[in-house]
Symmetry: C2
Subunit: 252 residues, 2 copies
């Protein structure tokens, strides 16, 4: 088969955070496939077709991209952030594994990008200074008790945490339940950041203590960053900087 699929991580939103490799893949594509918000970030190009789908239809969108490529198209699947982090890459390979065996002969190229947690961390200082993890709070594809177990273990092990998909209209209570578990393990002064649209005009960033963190400050676009017991605030005239020291003392 002559078709090709690029799964493109377009970064967290600002054009300056999108790699040249992502631009090249988007320019080489005959067809763009993706959620409307992400496809809308790509400049219109004569002759390039656009296939818009709903954000929740990931597997159907992946199959559609593979069918187009099997017909000879060069398809760019438009993902936010990094294509492999809670985005489209895993859905495409899942569709390949369970789909038409001929899809295994397609060229499939994943284009890495800057995932939201790194843009947020850079905006705040260096909160990811130690070991870290990324956890999706969505229980659409995994059982909620497993999410809670991972949160508790990550807090106990001292990982800085980035919480993706903290809540949505259909899942309004998950973030509050997550904070309850974190409060059982982490000190009340642990810094929590709520951030959305970092680097864009509608950016919003708020840093508070875990004891004061309110799930109502988040929506489906928010990334919630959870510090550790050692994460520090550096006070100064402007907004404080946040960082996690690289060193961990022997007793921790």
């Amino acid at each position: 088969m002559s078709g090709r699929v690029y799964i493109v991580g377009m970064g967290p939103g600002a054009d300056a955070m999108r790699t040249p490799q992502a631009d090249q893949a988007l320019a080489a594509a005959t067809d763009l496939v993706g959620y409307s918000t992400y496809v809308a970030r790509v400049a219109e190009r004569a002759g390039q077709r656009r296939h818009i789908s709903d954000n929740r239809e990931e597997l159907a969108r992946a199959r559609h991209a593979l069918e187009l490529a099997a017909g000879g198209a060069a398809v760019a699947v438009c993902s936010s952030g990094d294509a492999g982090v809670f985005a489209m890459a895993a859905a495409v390979f899942e569709a390949v594994e369970h789909g038409d065996p001929a899809w295994r002969t397609l060229e499939i190229e994943v284009v890495a990008g800057v995932s939201a947690m790194f843009a947020v961390a850079a905006r705040l200082g260096a909160p990811l200074g130690g070991d870290f993890c990324g956890i999706s709070l969505s229980d659409n594809l995994k059982p909620w008790p497993l999410v809670l177990r991972r949160l508790r273990m990550a807090a106990e092990a001292g990982f800085v945490m980035a919480l993706y998909n903290p809540l949505s209209r259909a899942r309004p209570w998950q973030l509050g339940a997550a904070f309850e578990v974190l409060r059982e393990v982490l000190p009340p002064t642990t810094p929590i950041a709520f951030a959305a649209a970092v680097g864009r005009a509608d950016e919003s960033v708020r840093v508070v203590d875990l004891s004061a963190a309110d799930p109502a400050w988040a929506d489906m676009r928010t990334l919630v960053l959870v510090g550790t017991a050692t994460t520090r605030r550096i006070e100064r005239a402007g907004e404080p900087w946040l960082y996690t020291p690289r060193s961990v003392a022997p007793e921790l």
Copy 2:
């Protein structure tokens, strides 16, 4: 103070994976500070000064950058990957917290980038399809028992793992000890990837089962990616693709 520090994540190596934001910061700098390998990746620019230091002197390098900025310079601290992930950002803020109070009036901007684990994951398929973590195996700054505890908890919790700094001449045994712990928790068929210099001419990538993983295949430039019990290989005519399904069944 009029000085400024950019802490720049230059991506995993290939120019096409460096963001325009990083290029802009490097172009705006009067002074570059960094480990020789990273500074060498920046094209020479007339009048721009270069301050090369040894890779292990992170805190001294951070202080040097802050002193230059306090003298009015625009300093770019050159980091590989993402500046906040096992790189220079945390060292700079640590130096600020414990250094000259006047440093808190400097402009400090962290520029996010594509960290090695995402370039490696993209090269392999979508191994980070679920929750994931990044762990440095270096015990220079944290106690080794804590590293082992984090590895065990991450494996038990089902996180995909990226292991940074797997070993060096001064720390030759850590990766072997890590594999021993992982073998106590994860199935012998769990995929392990060894990858270095992804996207560059000297790229090397090797994927094996955990039971066969040999620490001798790694050096200080290698990133080791550890799958989960559910990570899948998609067999095909070429190199197999690796991906971790987004779904986790209730019993896991």
